[in-house]
Amino acid sequence: MQRALLTGIVVAICCSIMGLFLVLKRYSLFGDALSHTAFGGIALGFFLNIYPIWTATVVCVATALGITKLRKSTKISGDAAIAVLFSAGLAMGVLLVSASHGFTIDLFSFLFGSILLTSMQDTLLILAISCGVIVTLIAIRKPLIHFTFDEEQAKVHGIPIEKLNYLFVALAAVTVIATMRLVGILLISALIVLPNITSIMMGKGFKKTIIISISISVIATIAGITTSYYFNLAPSGTIVMLMVAIFVGTLIAKHAGLFSTKTLTDENNLLTVH
């Protein structure tokens, strides 16, 4: 339980920071598509009898970089590229699962999360990945904020936007890997999107938005893991439902005039949860 809480908190922090950039760059679905690719990677690991997190990491990072290169060189639109990625990842996973004679309990746990049953090896790896992502994001925060705000202006400011973009998608891919054990492949995008659209709605500046987003993630994760432990529920579903509740509560509070800023113009575009 303590191990689950520690891992959950670190992953929640990592995912909400990364998620804010993904949401603001309108890459929310990209995270979702990457998680489906990770499913393909996990299935490959089981098929080849290799530690599945390694295969998922390799497949996920390679796909993220490849699709970014493809989008740049062929001018394929973002949503079309994501659709290809999404279905290719899932198809590969299903194919490999059928070749290895059906779902195993382990594979099932990757799909729906199993933070309370995570092994020590998984915990250490997830903590290392999450901390690495958090440290990298903190180190590159200034150029990344500028790049997210306006790519062209960032380029004029001398920021190497192409390299930064590749680094950004690679970090997104490893964030997906780290989050997979907490909420499962199918609910990763909830962790990326929900805390961030909730905090963006509050109409604050960048620093406060990121702090609010992290707080929502961490509170929902602690409450979700604790509740699920004592009531024997699925932690992933509990965490995500708590986040949905916070989002709905904030939405009601906003409509009641608790926040004095303009309304979100297109929340529907940002909300890409399954």
């Binding site: 500028h146 705000f149 004029v156 400011h157």
Partner: protein, 267 residues
């Protein structure tokens, strides 16, 4: 001897098979405020994008006499304000956050300044970057008159106020050259006048070289030290008095706009 801030030599830009800029050549001296006029689609933005390294081109462009890699490293010394900055409307950045983005390239600026000083250009102001970024940001906000807006979200501001915030972001870099691409198009007269006052101030007091495109001939005639008129080709480059005395230039620019200008000045 004054150094040319910008040299454009025989520059052509072929934009998706269309010749957008045709063999244009002109120079901008340090401290000048060059007003570029020309109808919509004349290639002004394309030319600016070529200068900023955002567009491939044929010909030569020199920044403070430098080309190639040194030119690229000097690009970060340009403050650029486009006609419209396309940013995500829900971006949770305050005006202060946006202006602070301009402080990013100051280390590069110091390197660039050393390069420029080595070519004989007296530029000491850039070495005053040791003071805190926050002071620079406050100063830039004061110049554009947005001190009281610093904690407001950028998306809550009007178009004119946003443009002033982007000018502050460009100013906080302490640029050697500012490129302004019709920065107040579609903005009300009051904000336009405030913007023109800012432009005059940064050119005269902060000694920043400015290249500015606009359709407002009256503002150009009041503020610019030199004028360039283009419509794919460069039709004129020189003193503003010479430009306004030359009626043939009506053909390359909007006749009605020119008549309006003449009418105002005859009254």
């Amino acid at each position: 001897m004054p150094v040319n801030a910008l040299d454009v030599e025989n520059v052509s830009v072929n934009h998706n098979g269309v010749l957008a800029v045709n063999k244009i050549s002109f120079s901008v001296q340090e401290g000048d405020l060059l007003g570029i006029v020309g109808p919509n689609g004349a290639g002004k933005t394309t030319l600016f994008r070529a200068i900023l390294g955002l567009q491939s081109y044929q010909g030569r462009i020199k920044l403070f006499g430098y080309e190639g890699n040194q030119y690229t490293s000097l690009l970060s010394m340009i403050g650029y304000v486009p006609q419209k900055v396309n940013f995500e409307p829900n971006f949770p950045a305050t005006v202060y956050d946006v202006v602070s983005m301009g402080t990013l390239s100051r280390k590069k600026l110091a390197k660039g300044a050393a390069l420029i000083q080595s070519c004989g250009c007296c530029w000491n102001r850039i070495f005053q970057t040791s003071s805190k970024d926050s002071e620079k940001i406050e100063e830039a906000l004061k110049i554009v008159g947005l001190e009281s807006f610093k904690d407001r979200r950028i998306s809550e501001l009007s178009g004119g106020e946003q443009q002033r915030a982007f000018i502050a972001k460009a100013l906080v870099k302490e640029p050697l050259l500012m490129i302004l691409d019709e920065p107040v198009t579609g903005v009300d007269m009051d904000v336009q006048n405030k913007f023109y006052a800012v432009l005059k101030k940064i050119n005269k007091e902060n000694k920043i070289t400015i290249v500015w495109s606009s359709h407002d001939l009256n503002a150009i005639s009041d503020l610019a030290t030199r004028i360039a008129c283009m419509n794919r080709d460069l039709f004129f480059h020189g003193e503003k008095e010479e430009f306004f005395a030359n009626k043939d230039l009506l053909k390359t620019y909007s006749e009605s706009a020119m008549q309006l200008h003449m009418h105002k000045h005859d009254m």
